[in-house]
């Protein structure tokens, strides 16, 4: 769906704290354009904090975030999305009081090209037929899987070039999880979208990722090929839980 292919994302020594508590203690990682990087780790490892800092919801203490070589650390979230990086928040962050159609339209509202907004909207409906059948329903009436589709579809309507996905499998049946993972892989392959995928469900994330990063207590403890991460018993037992 992205029209101009993906952009690269480079994170260097990112530090974020909430008051006295440090959530990220100098995280560095590199996501090449058109690839999927999975960020794994236990609860509280700093995965969501990483995404929230990247998309501008939280201001970093220090460090650098380069989107296609351009510094964006500390930029406001409404600017970051307009620079081509969309964040699908944890917990299927749809706006429950709005209809499916309103939620989807909202994703592309900042874009000037009105004709393409409509095209992107219809593409999202084509990608997620269950949403197409429920256009006028309130988002609060959707099932968990449908909400995840809505959140993902809403991000895609913005035609992002980098997608930050926070725990898309949370609370979903394995079958739906694997459908969503397969879709992410397909988007990446067909359109060159760059994806940073945060997951607790390490096994399914590693199955589609090109690269894996393991976070613990706000630092990167491993960064490697998915197959090698999955084969490392110590790592699996200590951080990945499978």
């Amino acid at each position: 769906m992205p029209d101009a292919g993906g952009m690269s994302l480079e994170v260097k020594d990112l530090v974020t704290s909430y008051g006295a508590i440090k959530a990220l203690r100098g995280v560095s990682l590199n996501v090449p354009a058109g690839s999927i990087t999975a960020v794994l780790g236990a609860n509280g490892a700093g995965k969501s904090s990483l995404l929230r800092t990247l998309s501008g919801l939280v201001r970093p203490r220090s460090g650098s975030v380069l989107l296609d070589g351009k510094e964006i650390a500390g930029r406001a979230p409404e600017d970051v999305v307009q620079m081509g990086m969309s964040h699908v928040p944890e917990g299927r962050g749809v706006i429950a009081e709005l209809t499916v159609d309103d939620n989807l339209r909202l994703g592309g509202l900042w874009r000037k090209d009105k004709a393409d907004r409509g095209r992107a909207l219809e593409e999202a409906y084509a990608l997620f037929p269950p949403l197409d059948q429920r256009r006028k329903r309130l988002a609060m009436t959707l099932s968990g899987g449908e909400r995840q589709m809505l959140a993902l579809g809403r991000a895609l309507v913005a035609r992002p070039r980098v997608l930050l996905l926070d725990e898309p499998s949370l609370g979903l049946a394995p079958r739906i999880t694997s459908q969503i993972m397969a879709l992410v892989r397909r988007l990446c392959d067909e359109t060159g979208l760059t994806v940073l995928l945060v997951e607790q469900n390490a096994r399914s994330a590693l199955s589609v990722a090109d690269h894996g990063v393991v976070l613990n207590l706000g630092t990167v403890v491993a960064s490697d090929d998915p197959a090698k991460l999955a084969a490392d018993d110590n790592l699996r037992h200590a951080y990945l839980g499978f």
């Binding site: 998309s55 009081e97 900042w110």
Partner: protein, 291 residues
């Protein structure tokens, strides 16, 4: 029976004014979870500005436009400059700030325009049309009902059918998610307050002919509007309008059958009753509310 009918009808006309106040409170509450205690005083102040225009030989319609436009600007200013810094803090701080604006505007109006009661003219007659032996509505009351109705419909259309309305709703419901979708939430909240203040100013200029213009004249109207908003659940625009009409009719009965001095206490009774019995209001969409 004919008296009952005409009391009911004039209650509906008055109720539209309370509905406008309630609507402004609801729009602000929905957007920022702040109850704007200054809304009555803001409307009072913009009505004084309209009075100033009339007093200097402006037309009624110019004065009308001045009231609404100054309401728009005042609402935007209050949100952006005074309320924004306390919006995310403890709710008591925002309450105190709006109370400060309330009393400041009362003082400013008294200082600039004096404490005398002034009669406020309209271009419409106050003489009721008679249908059979029932005295119905006056042309002014019809103007009240239709202008509040028109503003309500325009606001509804703006929120429901335009892109900016969608942005405003998103900003009000889920500010953080809206920001992640590129919505300038701060601007939307300012705009929300500005539009809400227009509804308040409309109420001010419409109520002025019947309560006279005075720095305190909107205190009671604010209480009625607040009661109407609470009846409606404080976050339902439709509920605010129905609540306004209901409280208007009730107060009209109280005024004609018990005494006008008891109107505010009657509203207090309704308010306490609703908050005790059904704190989420009669029309709220959200299930629970902590009052």
């Amino acid at each position: 029976m004919s008296r009952f009918l005409s009391v009911t009808l004039s209650g509906l006309a008055g109720g539209m004014i309370y509905a406008a106040v309630a609507l402004s409170l609801v729009l602000i509450w929905r957007a920022t979870r702040v109850l704007n205690f200054a809304q009555g005083a803001m409307a009072m102040f913009t009505t004084y500005l309209a009075y100033y225009v009339l007093d200097h030989d402006g037309s009624y319609w110019l004065a009308f436009a001045v009231a609404l436009l100054s309401g728009l600007l005042l609402g935007a200013f209050v949100e952006r400059v005074l309320v924004r810094p306390v919006e995310s803090g403890p709710h008591l701080n925002a309450v105190v700030v709006t109370l400060g604006i309330f009393i400041f505007l009362q003082g400013l109006a008294g200082l600039l325009f004096g404490g005398r009661f002034r009669s406020f003219p309209t271009t419409f007659s106050n003489k009721n049309y008679n249908v059979g032996d029932v005295s119905t509505l006056s042309p002014f009351e019809i103007f009240v009902i239709s202008s509040v109705g028109l503003v309500a419909v325009l606001l509804f259309a703006l929120f429901q059918y335009t892109d900016v309305g969608l942005r405003m709703r998103a900003a009000a419901f889920e500010g953080e998610i809206a920001r992640m979708l590129g919505v300038r939430v701060g601007q939307m909240l300012t705009l929300g307050w500005a539009l809400a203040a227009v509804a308040g100013s409309l109420a001010g200029i419409l109520v002025a002919p019947s309560v006279f213009l005075h720095p305190n004249n909107m205190d009671g109207v604010f209480v009625f509007g607040f009661t109407a908003a609470v009846i409606g659940g404080l976050d339902s625009p439709v509920g605010a309008i129905i609540g306004g009409l209901g409280i208007g009719v009730l107060l009209s009965y109280v005024a004609s059958y018990a005494g006008g001095d008891l109107q505010t206490l009657a509203a207090l009774g309704v308010l306490v009753f609703i908050l005790m019995v059904k704190p989420s209001g009669l029309f709220s969409s959200t299930a629970t509310r902590r009052v």
